[in-house]
């Protein structure tokens, strides 16, 4: 019997086709290992082909926009939004619009073309997390912005246009719909129970154990109860934290966690394409009791049909309990 499950935060329902229970091998698509070859604007030596760097991690002896860096952040060459100008909010009859003001940046995660977030050094992953944090902290000062989306699409079928490992950042003058929905649902839960819904989920998952993928001292990775896609994975701090920041001024535990989970996914699904999305509280209510920042990792293993995209209703052929088991048992 298939099962209908509701995600308690977003309210979306998912059909789990349990009989069709698919194993990892049923999903394996061409491995996303990097091929190299051809010109890469993100490789050392080609710094002049990108827009000038906003920040970079590099020895003091090297010059900006020259080799020697270990991480660079540059404005997107083809930005979806424009940094200069005023919002000029206005109506068009009953419709609402404003100028497309925002920042669109690229985080070039490491100099080596062949590496990925899973295979670079743990220290380099820590630096990526620091870069996210520094850029959020900087963009927060601009009163035009309400939210920063940090995302990564690994592998062509997730929409990555460049092979060299990178993340993207978009600072927005509005709070995106799905973030607003999560905030609203979390607030409502808190009003009823005086507890954070994510903290409650973590406690229940720690008790039942069956959907835990990995945990270290401070973080937990789970397969969510109602996953949209097979092997969807969430990483959350175990203690309540409403916004993304380095606890004890260190990202080492988070880097260890993130890399471990990515290695598990790479092992079980042979380097799948995936999307990475950081969910954190909007600037205006950064510190709160109801929302809990987290990372959502969603391997792109299936085509999203018109049905699922248009209804917010998903069909998934692998239960999170099975997915968590496969990932836990990965021999990495």
């Amino acid at each position: 019997m298939p099962e209908l499950r509701k995600d308690p935060i977003s309210g979306r329902w998912v059909i789990l086709s349990i009989e069709r229970g698919k194993r990892p091998a049923d999903y394996i698509s061409p491995s996303q290992k990097r091929k190299g070859g051809g010109f890469c604007p993100f490789c050392p030596g080609n710094e002049h082909t990108t827009t000038p760097e906003i920040i970079a991690f590099r020895p003091a002896s090297t010059s900006p926009n020259s080799p020697g860096w270990t991480l660079r952040v540059v404005p997107n060459k083809f930005p979806a939004l424009q940094i200069h100008g005023s919002l000029n909010k206005m109506g068009e009859g009953m419709f609402d619009k404003m100028n497309g003001i925002g920042a669109h940046e690229v985080i070039i995660e490491c100099p080596e073309h062949q590496l990925s977030l899973a295979t670079m050094s743990q220290r380099a992953v820590e630096d990526v997390l620091w870069a996210y944090f520094f850029r959020i902290t900087d963009l927060k000062k601009d009163i035009r912005f309400k939210y920063v989306v940090i995302f990564k699409t690994e592998g062509e079928s997730s929409g990555a246009s460049l092979e060299h490992t990178h993340s993207q950042l978009i600072a927005l003058p509005i709070v995106p719909k799905s973030v607003k929905e999560e905030m609203d649902a979390s607030k409502k839960y808190f009003e009823n129970k005086e507890r954070c819904i994510f903290c409650d989920i973590i406690n229940q998952e720690l008790f039942s154990e069956k959907r835990i993928i990995y945990e270290n001292n401070s973080y937990i990775a789970i397969a969510p109860f109602a996953p949209r896609e097979p092997f969807e994975t969430w990483i959350l701090p175990k203690e309540h934290e409403s916004n993304f920041y380095p606890p004890q001024k260190s990202f080492s535990e988070l880097a260890e966690m993130l890399q471990r989970v990515l290695k598990q996914l790479d092992y079980v699904l042979d380097n799948p394409p995936y999307s990475f999305l950081l969910h954190t509280s909007p600037f205006k209510e950064e510190i709160n009791e109801y929302y809990h920042w987290h990372i959502e990792l969603v391997p792109k293993l299936t085509k999203i049909a018109g049905f699922e995209w248009g209804t917010g209703f998903y069909i998934n052929s692998t239960t999170p309990e099975e997915a968590a088991k496969f990932l836990r048992e990965a021999k990495i």
Copy 2:
């Protein structure tokens, strides 16, 4: 300057990258014209290879599950949901679940393998709409069901696994999230204004004219103000109608409208893949003053990146005003 636009019904924001303004030729992907060849279970003569038909339009002289039909509805051979059983709603700690009870059917739209909804006779399109209506009317009697999703994914990249033209139907014991969101937003608007939000949109579009794609006596096709994808098209009845049904017991005008718009899309975008989704009121509140049934046609021209999928926030490089103009001027 790019523009940020808000869809008044769903509340989602869209970035319109106006400078990058793409023309139809920038989007053209391999034409979805049918190739034929190979075994097709939906072709006449192969009726025994599908599940037995639920209804069919066929002369009285022919037997069920044999040739002679002009349209067939059959249960999906690999249903996502199961028709027999009870819902058995229950909690799992703080989570909600129920048995995956529902109907999953396939509407084989015409016998000819090479035709599409755009190229079959108008009479055949009317029959497709009648089949939708008959199946909704029948499934409504089952008190376990709250909603019927009717959708179509034309062309492989929209997720269609079989080339022979067909639609799908899924009857659900819940109302999908995006339908619930549209209902809630429409109700709220009605509470404020005592008017249907869709009726107001139609009036504004009729006045401004710039986003109208086509209209006949009873229906209008528009490019919505904040389209998720280039060339997204909505078809709505001009008069207020909350649920999908045949006005004056005829679907001829709707068939004319639907086919005209599909021909325009086929002409401008060279037979693009697309998804078709019927949005109608849930059974419990079928007749109401606030919601307005409609069809959403979304050509699948771009990859949906992790960003857009995860945030409910879209980037679109063609304005609806340009898209409507290209479609209006299609020489069909």
